[in-house]
Amino acid sequence: MNEPAKYESGKQIPVSDTTSPQGEVTETPRLLFNPPIDIYETENGLVLYADLPGVSTENLELEVQDNRLALFGKVPSEDQSHGTLHREYEIGDFLRSFILSDDVDHERISARLTNGVLRVELPKNQKTEPRRISINVE
């Protein structure tokens, strides 16, 4: 993964891997969207939902680095050869990142993608018993 988290949302990133046989590079600008999300609290932690229509599990990258959770969903380009008569949405990739609070247990983060919606569970760290520190009297 080449750090998509660096890209700003709504920005076009040129994809340069579409080299035609003649050697000329046809750059197709790809659109990048900030997907709408829901975040809510449960007893066990936080749950995050993100709308990623057109993203399959193979094309979804979810990454936690330090305290940053980044999601990047790639949507295969459409065949542009046919005529568009009406357009209300554009095809593009999805990128969004979040800062996790310290009480999220990074090891137990789990995710599921169903019908183009990503659900990420961010469990809280399990409460540890207070540890008594014995004080030696000299």
């Binding site: 709504g10 709408p36 829901d38 809510y40 229509p53 046919h82 008569l85 009406h86 949405y89 019908n115």
Partner: protein, 148 residues
């Protein structure tokens, strides 16, 4: 140029919105408002032998999708449920559309309404509208109104 009017032609606000959208499109300003639009957003493409309507309906269960066609109008209907264990006050952020939705779309002329098909995958609904390529010339008899 569109071959047919999409939606209600007597809605000048919609037309204005679309025109403004078109103008803003070049500047990519509309892209930030993905969550604030009519749900679901719909595209229409034309292929040589059919039209394809696509709609982004992520999170809608297949069982909750309802498509009907009557009198040249295609109705897409469904519901997008809120996450089951969430309560109103537990949301820290809520940007996703939820609740019932409905879109009525005017079908193109000369399609085979009986042979329409649809599929749904990864939150994207596709409706295929095969074109009617039969030449339908109908002769209209003219009666002579003067004779009795």
């Amino acid at each position: 140029m569109p071959v047919f009017r999409w939606g209600q032609s007597w809605n000048p606000i919609r037309d204005l919105e679309r025109e403004v959208d078109r103008l803003l499109h070049g500047m990519q300003l509309t892209l930030q408002t993905r969550s604030a639009r009519q749900f679901p957003p719909v595209n229409l493409h034309e292929e040589p032998d059919r039209y394809v309507i696509t709609a982004e309906v992520p999170g809608v269960e297949l069982a909750d999708l309802d498509l009907t066609a009557a009198n040249g109008i295609l109705t897409l209907k469904g519901v997008r449920n809120a996450p089951e264990e969430a309560t109103d006050h537990s949301f820290r952020r809520q940007e996703r559309f939820q609740g019932p939705w409905l879109r009525k779309l005017q079908l193109p002329d000369r399609i085979l309404e009986d042979e329409m098909t649809a599929d749904y995958s990864l939150g994207v609904l596709r409706v295929y509208l095969p074109k009617d390529t039969e030449e339908s010339v109908r002769r209209i008899p003219v009666s002579d109104g003067a004779t009795d």
